[in-house]
Amino acid sequence: MADIIIEDKVNTNVGIEKIPDSLPAQYNEHERELTTLNLGPTHPATHGIFQNILQMDGERIVSGVPTIGYIHRAFEKIAERRPFYQITPLTDRMNYCSSPINNMGWWMTVEKLLGVKTPKRADYIRVIVMELARIADHLICNSILGVDSGAFTGFLYVFQEREKIYEIYEELSGARLTTNMGRIGGMERDLSPVAIHKLREWIAGFPKVMKEFEALFTRNRIFVDRIKDVGPITAEKALNYGFTGPNLRAAGVDYDVRVMNPYSSYEDFDFEIPVGTTGDTYDRFMVRNEEIWQSFRIVQQALENLPEGPYHADAPEYFLPPKQAVYKNMEALIYHFKIIMGEIEAPVGEVYHSVEGGNGELGFYLISDGGRTPYRLHFRRPCFIYYQAYPEMVVGTQLSDAILILSSMNVIAGELDA
């Protein structure tokens, strides 16, 4: 990781551009008529329920006002009434393209608060699951970008890989999309022989498909012409807007939570942080593509070096016991009951923990007043933070470019609204 990149990009004060109340003067002078176009809330190309009210001069976008909140479900409020185990399903439904990352981030936050230390094997399994989730998330984002530019085949190619990743989740947790994976102190289940077999099979087959996908897109003249220099954002602006994740790295800043604040044994793995230069749609696409390869490397390393040992911490008062033990063992039954009824009392404290989500730094800020539920839980949702830069990125481009910028930013409505 090169250290110069961040150094010379910071401390440049960039002002904020406000949403214009009236149109720029030249439009009024010539009495040109502008079209108001509602892009969304339920437009197939917005990939989610949010609206952009665009002022159009022909094909050209003059201004844009984003409206969000259509699927706001008040997760932060609901979490104030729920014991820790019941908050996991809420996190699943934020970035639903990579829900295991949200789950793990949440468990790590709770573990930090409760002072539970996870064993190495649990960490490695978590790393495998999180990197698989990142791959699935990036595959969908990149292939949908292809679909939005009119190329459908690549999407079909990589969708089957996501399907295989979901089968591995299924083996681990019984669920595919909203995985509800993990427990306080480790994993619910160990990596079963079947899961390892599926993982190895996937590792053997994935590079071929990924190379085919790259062959379809990265040097495709039509595709590159459509996304090159579209919606660029400078590093200074991106930092000022609070960008993280691939969107920030595409602008040339190598900030990655996995390296800056390693969690879950990420310091054991050897991987690189891909960075772009201009922060345009092409760079975002390429950074995600390269990240898929890096995540693939991490999965391989984690599986090769998977430590022996327990897959959960020895913390019976927090770790939900296995179901078979609940049927036979009195203590397990008691702990099961106490955990399910939410009778664990958390220590007083406040903790901020962040993980590198599919879109960037996914943070959990948890304040506990010693009760059974969080006093306050705030999610730092990367989508919410960087979507506000969208109007600035689309002004001056054409409508079809706006669609591509939107899909290259990977805005997930569930995470945007929470």
Binding site: N13, V351, G363
Partner: protein
């Protein structure tokens, strides 16, 4: 790798040297330096953190409101998390103020990211950010008359009798 050597103590010394008495309640829960300041000092403090050549804390990670109904004259609060990407040090800043006078200066002149974060805080807690360019609700419907994250709006319908909390261990 980020530069090492900037510790919480350095950050604290730096800001107390400039702001002195207005930095109080210094804590370090789980390693993250947490300070409380006053409403008047929040923007000067954030600006200092932004521009200071030693700290370079110019990344606003997140910002949220909080409500403590029992703290008289200090019911509402705003919590900022700032991050120095160069030194990889985070700082949490809190301000508290009475619920009758929930006016806070905006940070949008410093961070573009603060725009929506402040709108969200306003939406949930009714905190007015003075100088914000477009302070309207963001996640909830516009004709809502209250600010739902305040503690006096319970999540469940208080008139329901079929669901008694004591049965659910709460």
């Amino acid at each position: 790798m980020a530069e090492q050597g900037l510790t919480n103590q350095h950050v604290l010394d730096n800001i107390t040297a400039k702001f002195g008495e207005s930095i109080f309640n210094v804590e370090e829960p789980y390693g993250l330096l947490t300070v409380t300041t006053t409403r008047d000092q929040i923007i000067p403090l954030l600006t200092h953190l932004y521009n200071d050549a030693d700290l370079k804390m110019n990344f606003l990670t997140t910002m949220c409101g909080i409500h403590y109904p029992d703290n008289k004259e200090q019911e509402l609060g705003v919590i900022y998390h700032v991050h120095s990407l160069v030194h990889n040090v985070r700082l949490r800043i809190k301000i508290f103020f009475p619920i009758d006078n929930p006016i806070v200066p905006t940070a949008t002149n410093l961070y573009a990211a603060a725009n929506w974060m402040e709108r969200e805080t306003f939406d949930f807690y009714g905190i007015q950010f003075e100088g914000h360019p477009n302070l309207i609700r963001i996640l909830n419907v516009e004709d809502m008359t209250y600010h739902p994250m305040r503690k006096h709006y319970p999540l469940e319908d208080g008139t329901r009798e079929d669901k008694v909390d004591t049965f659910f261990g709460r």
